[in-house]
């Protein structure tokens, strides 16, 4: 079948880019050393790709829109604010900055607590309007950004350099402990949501159809929103903000795999996500020699693709 062929091709491509990243440019006799450096990064890439791709895919299904990304929930500015506040008040030498695991845990706890608080207010009320959630997310996001700018303007310039490094997506923040914690979190989300994935197929038909077809809409949307938040927070805390990656990956997925079944879509988007980050990171390390960041590469590609999408929508 064609769908299977496409999935096989994607898997093949993923393995190719994985090997490319792992084995490129190894000097004789340094194989073990290179592996020791590269394997954790690869594991981090895969974790982050799963989180970002699946998170964005589910999010776009929930809001029934293929141009929105979970960034609109205001998680990225919140991540930036957390890092800025830590460095501003406790300095770049504090435990929370130097110890990457502590930083990772703190960031993730703050992001989850804020989102839970927001959802609690929103879903307790009668109106279960997702657009309202997005609006609040956007407003809070701008508020956090203003705080960030103010703090970053008055921060010590040396501290600012440290901060800036944290605000670019990179694989240098990852260590074994973070990988382990991240994997545990990711697997619990997968187990928690796996049985409900089929409901996403119906939710993608819209709220009214979903209710008419017997989906407990409010409960499922709440659950998936929380799952999206965990996934995106996890990815952001691990490799930093990557705005366009999810958007890019999910749209390419829909372009390649024309199905509404989320079990296929999610697998495909995860593979495409891995390919994108791995190739991007290979480029950053071997072509640009770390002179460009992963963020700028992905934002450039994603941005170009976004413009292409908008132009195509206009023509259609």
């Amino acid at each position: 079948m064609q769908l299977n062929k496409k999935k096989f091709l994607l898997l093949l491509l993923t393995i190719c880019s994985l090997c490319l990243y792992l084995f490129i440019d190894i000097k004789p006799g340094t194989f073990d050393y290179a592996m020791k450096l590269r394997l954790p990064k690869v594991a981090g890439v895969i974790l982050a790709a799963v989180c970002l791709s699946a998170g964005t895919l589910i999010f776009q299904t929930l809001v029934n829109n293929r141009i929105l990304t979970p960034c609109i929930l205001g998680l990225t500015p919140l991540y930036v604010l957390t890092q800025t506040v830590i460095i501003f008040f406790w300095g770049s030498t504090s435990l929370l900055v130097v110890n990457k695991t502590a930083n990772f845990l703190l960031t993730i706890v703050i992001m989850l607590m804020c989102s839970m608080f927001l959802y609690r207010i929103l879903f307790e009320r009668q109106s279960q309007n997702i657009l309202l959630l997005l609006l609040i997310g956007t407003v809070l996001g701008s508020l956090f950004s203003s705080f960030n700018q103010t703090l970053q303007r008055i921060i010590d310039p040396n501290e600012f350099m440290v901060l800036q490094n944290k605000l670019f997506a990179s694989l240098t923040n990852i260590n074994a402990e973070i990988l382990f914690l991240g994997a545990i979190l990711l697997f619990s989300v997968i187990i928690w949501c796996y049985k409900d994935l089929k409901y996403l197929d119906v939710i993608s038909m819209g709220k009214e159809q979903a209710i008419s077809l017997g989906v407990n809409y409010k409960q499922k949307v709440k659950k998936f929103m929380l799952a999206v938040t965990i996934l995106i927070s996890l990815a952001t805390a691990m490799i930093g903000p990557v705005t366009f990656l999810g958007f890019l990956v999910v749209n390419v997925t829909h372009e390649i795999i024309k199905t509404y079944k989320h079990k296929y879509l999610i697998i495909a988007s995860v593979l495409i996500g891995c390919i994108t980050i791995l190739l991007g990171q290979t480029l950053v390390e071997n072509v640009f020699h770390f002179n460009a960041t992963l963020t700028s590469l992905i934002t450039f590609t994603g941005g170009s693709y976004f413009i292409y999408m908008v132009m195509r929508e206009n023509n259609a």
């Binding site: 089929k198 038909m205 077809l213």
Partner: protein, 251 residues
């Protein structure tokens, strides 16, 4: 089997449905008529749980619809709305298969496939079942959606303005089909209608709404009278009995 007690709904401070009591006769076609904003669609949406009510009960088979398990209710009661702008690219067959979701949760069994095929055949969509919905005409798309609710195989079927945006030929076909669903498949159908004469000719029971209240409920002869229609629409109406049907002239 389906009735409401003191059902109310407010949007902000405006009450759109005021303590409405009705019952829907089983195995019949019931039309809800009334001017825009009278609350008919709101009532329909509240029955289907698409919007939340302010107060009151909607009892379906001796149990409030809010107490029903979502999946079980979807096997007994379905709603089809007009605004079916779809974000997905689906073929007719895939759409109709969604109708089996309450039963099989996406993993279609042999029985599900059979029901899907029957529904497609019933709506005469067999030769175009692999076409995508966005390539179809309005009438074909509507038939595809009806095929989906037929596959859903519910005893009660609610249609919100089924004649919206379709020409008189397709309107007539649609109403005859609804009659057929009622007579052959023994479905109870609830319609929100704007075309009074179609409502008069095809309904067994009519509920007339005005300002969030029920002004009159009964069979077509009882509701399609000059007094009732003049009061709900606030304009002069003449009723003529043509071939045993009450036809109203208001042009």
């Amino acid at each position: 089997m389906l009735k409401s007690k003191r059902l109310s709904k407010k949007y902000g401070k405006k009450t759109v449905v005021k303590e409405v009591d009705f019952h829907i006769p089983h195995g019949k076609i019931t039309s809800l008529i009334g001017p825009n904003g009278a609350g008919k669609s709101t009532v329909l949406n509240m029955i289907a749980r698409l919007i939340e009510r302010e107060s009151g009960d909607i009892m379906f088979k001796e149990k409030d619809v809010l107490e029903w398990n979502s999946t079980e209710l979807a096997k007994n009661l379905s709603i089809l709305k007009q605004s079916n702008s779809l974000y997905l690219k689906l073929t007719i067959k895939e759409l109709v298969e969604f109708g089996r979701f309450p039963y099989s949760k996406g993993n279609l069994t042999a029985e599900d496939r059979e029901k899907v095929d029957i529904a497609i055949e019933y709506m005469e969509l067999d030769d175009i079942k692999d076409r995508y919905l966005d390539e179809l005409s309005g009438g074909q798309r509507q038939r595809a959606y009806i095929a989906m609710v037929i596959a859903q195989d519910t005893e009660y079927l609610m249609l919100d303005e089924p004649l919206n945006n379709i020409d008189i030929k397709h309107s007539k076909n649609m109403m005859r089909l609804i009659r057929k669903l009622c007579n052959e498949l023994h479905k109870t159908v609830i319609l929100v209608m704007h075309d009074l004469n179609f409502a008069s000719c095809y309904s067994d029971y009519i509920i007339a709404f005005k300002d969030g209240k029920i002004l009159k409920a009964g069979n077509a002869e009882e509701v399609m009278t000059r007094e009732v229609l003049e009061e709900i629409y606030e304009l002069p109406v003449a009723i003529h009995n043509i071939e045993g049907r009450n036809i109203c002239v208001y042009y």
